[in-house]
């Protein structure tokens, strides 16, 4: 992994007064160091979703299994529109299908007896996932949470931000009817003049701790600056405490993962050409 240009950040904090952390996350760099696969999920948590902590884990597992298979079948030489079709239409459907199978298996292994009707709903969760590579960056979002990208211009943007999403802590869910159609796609073939520097995924426990989205974007901008100034190890060490602080404001579980392209290792980047050489 040391020869990868990508450095990974990940941490999660349980909301104050919550029994379990219903968020889940996982990420890894491919064996050749070229790509990063990452996902976070936020189990709904309220009484109607008693197994949402498991639901969020199953969502992350389902996503990473499906996206790995998806990526194996993608070639840089494929026509972009074919890759786009599959990313937009096949992957959401496959992830939802895979998650529902996992939920059924889990229910069979551990039958549920409780006050709420038994079905996939009790596992309700959101999902955010991404693949970062040198030629294509992809992200998927179902429900709330933030996917943020930052390019060489240093400006963080929220490409999947949708002001029409339900507000007031309602969210779309993996268990919603027609869930696959609720998944939004971030599609960004990498253009030579705009290399990606940082991609982050976070659950809404983080953004909800800020007064406004602008304050949240300041957070990502700050992370990017600290990564450049202090290095990834220092940021990784500080992150858990920051998230704990955030969760004390939002009252919610708070999870943040990020893939940062170390400019010193990024092949062909302007930085390498102008500074290292």
């Amino acid at each position: 992994m040391s020869d990868s240009a990508w450095r990974l950040l990940a941490a999660s904090a349980k909301g104050p007064k919550k029994k379990v952390n219903q968020d889940y996350h996982d990420m890894h760099v491919s064996s050749d160091g070229a790509e990063v696969f990452m996902a976070v999920a936020d189990g709904h948590g309220s009484a109607a979703y008693p197994r949402s902590d498991i639901g969020s884990r199953l969502a992350v597992e389902a996503f990473l299994e499906v996206v790995t298979e998806f990526w194996r079948s993608c070639n840089r030489d494929d026509q972009l529109r074919h890759v786009h079709f599959r990313a937009k239409e096949d992957l959401p459907r496959d992830v939802v299908h895979n998650w529902r199978s996992r939920v059924r298996d889990h229910l069979e292994r551990e039958p549920f007896t409780g006050a709420v009707p038994v079905g996939p709903e009790i596992y309700g969760t959101t999902l955010l996932g991404a693949v970062v590579s040198e030629w294509l960056v992809l992200g998927w979002q179902l429900g709330d949470g933030e996917l943020c990208v930052l390019h060489s211009d240093g400006e963080p943007v929220l490409p999947l931000y949708d002001s029409s999403e339900p507000a007031g802590d309602e969210t779309y869910s993996m268990c919603s009817p027609g869930a696959r159609h609720l998944m939004r796609l971030y599609w960004a073939p990498v253009q030579a003049e705009q290399p990606l520097r940082l991609l982050t995924l976070s659950t809404d426990g983080l953004s909800n701790s800020f007064v406004s989205m602008a304050d949240y974007l300041d957070f990502v901008r700050g992370i990017d600056r600290r990564l450049s100034d202090n290095g990834a190890d220092q940021v990784a060490a500080d992150l858990p405490e920051w998230l704990k602080r955030a969760s004390s404001y939002s009252g919610d579980d708070t999870t943040f993962v990020g893939a940062w392209c170390n400019p010193r290792l990024q092949e062909g980047s302007d930085v390498r050409n102008s500074q290292v050489r």
Partner: protein
């Protein structure tokens, strides 16, 4: 949002006209779309990513621009726009904001009545027929590139920059869900064209009307991991229609796929027959696939038989041949209103319109073989009497006068703006067309 192009940047069309970039609208599979100013009009510019700006794509777009396919149902490329080095794009009209993607329908974010949904289906098959009649295959029919207006049912087909002349470029296209089985299998000699478009169109219609994929039943439900191999099996090697009368392996799973059972039950017999044909025989024999005109006729007939449930007011499509239908929503028994039977001349076609309280008779009802259906081009509509609630009549919206003949032999005239009581037995002469009001058949 950062994009490839910047606001204020000026590009040129192939003819040398200025195109000024206003702002970024969104990203598509092959490029980004911008709002631009061109010759005093605000239009849309699709600009290809470096990876997609290939000589082949350029020749496809040049060909499409040269075809000058002027049809308001398609956002067709009208001008090539050239940038530095190899970069290029094309101009098209902007998509008006009241058009929604079909995925908004599937995620239940727009409300649409059965009437507008069926109208959208009629318009959609007519749009593809217009394209196919020019020998152009769309190749990527799926819900991603169809937009519709929930208020009127009007449709707009987008992403037309991959349509090709029949027999042109080949190669496996699209997503397997919408692909004809022979393309999914990669049969020798199979290539995308109008005949494979017909399969994709049928899948799309089924999804719009039934809210489910026609091949995703028990066989799909049992698969844990829908990998490439499983999908080839499901959509290519062994596709089985949910309601194949001769093969029940792929029926909807009770408790998991109940919606599609209900929507299938609520469809008319002629539509069910067409779906069965195209998803049984048509899966293996492309020439057996249902053609656009067949869809159009069955859909238009279904539209004309929409009635309101007396219990919950919901729209239902009734089947004149199947008495005793109940409402799909509240299960109350439906009651038929009187119907208007219209017979055209040359060719002689009889159509039946249920005279429910928002029924309309349109110009296309009066023509045996209409070029296009237009449900806003009304010649008559059912209206309530202005002073007697509950009394309905058929109002003449045509410039001319209708001649009517009552069962007792007396005759009369209904000028423009006046209405006729819905009394069975009354015969009307609407233009050159004969019509008669008939009592409910059940």
């Amino acid at each position: 949002m950062s994009g490839i192009l910047k606001s204020g940047e000026v590009l040129r069309t192939a003819q040398g006209e200025d195109v000024t970039v206003l702002d970024y609208l969104g990203a598509g599979g092959q490029g980004e779309v911008y709002r631009v100013q061109h010759g005093g009009r605000v239009r849309a510019l699709k600009w290809y990513y470096q990876q997609s700006a290939t000589p082949m794509q350029r020749s496809i777009v040049e060909d499409l621009v040269n075809r000058a396919f002027d049809d308001d149902r398609f956002l067709w490329p009208t001008h090539m726009v050239l940038g530095s080095k190899e970069s290029f794009g094309y101009l098209m009209d902007l998509r008006p904001p009241h058009f929604h993607g079909l995925s908004d329908l599937f995620r239940r974010q727009v409300n649409v009545t059965s009437r507008e949904l069926v109208i959208a289906c009629v318009y959609l098959v007519e749009a593809y027929r217009a394209l196919h009649s020019q020998g152009i295959a769309y190749r990527d029919i799926s819900y991603g590139n169809v937009f519709f207006d929930p208020a009127t049912g009007n449709v707009l087909v987008c992403d037309n920059d991959n349509a090709v002349v029949e027999g042109g470029l080949s190669g496996i296209e699209g997503t397997m869900e919408f692909m004809a089985p022979e393309l999914v299998r990669g049969d020798d000699g199979a290539s995308p064209g109008t005949q494979t478009d017909l399969h994709s169109l049928a899948v799309l219609l089924f999804m719009m009307l039934m809210n489910h994929h026609p091949l995703e039943g028990a066989l799909e439900f049992r698969i844990r991991c829908l990998d490439e191999k499983a999908k080839r099996q499901l959509y290519g090697k062994d596709p089985v229609f949910l309601f194949d009368p001769a093969d029940d392996r792929n029926r909807p799973v009770p408790g998991e796929q109940d919606t599609v059972r209900a929507t299938w039950e609520a469809a008319t017999e002629p539509l069910r027959t067409l779906f069965i044909q195209t998803f049984t025989k048509g899966l293996t024999r492309p020439e057996a696939r249902v053609r656009e005109t067949q869809w159009r006729d069955a859909l238009a007939a279904a539209h004309d038989l929409i009635v309101h449930c007396g219990g919950c007011e919901r729209q239902n499509v009734v089947d004149l041949a199947a008495p005793g239908r109940t409402c799909w929503s509240c299960a109350k028994r439906l009651r038929l209103p009187p119907v208007l039977s219209i017979t055209t001349s040359g060719p002689r076609v009889t159509r039946t319109v249920a005279l429910t309280r928002d029924a309309r008779v349109c110009a296309h009802h009066l023509v045996g073989e209409p070029v296009r259906h237009d449900y806003e081009d009304k010649v008559a509509e059912v209206v309530e009497h202005p002073r007697v609630p509950g009394r309905y009549g058929l109002r003449n919206l045509m410039p001319g006068t209708w001649k009517i003949r009552r069962p007792d032999g007396t005759s009369d005239e209904v000028p423009n703006g006046r209405s006729l009581d819905l009394k069975p037995g009354i015969r009307l002469q609407i233009g050159s067309v004969e019509a008669v009001i008939q009592p409910p058949t059940w």
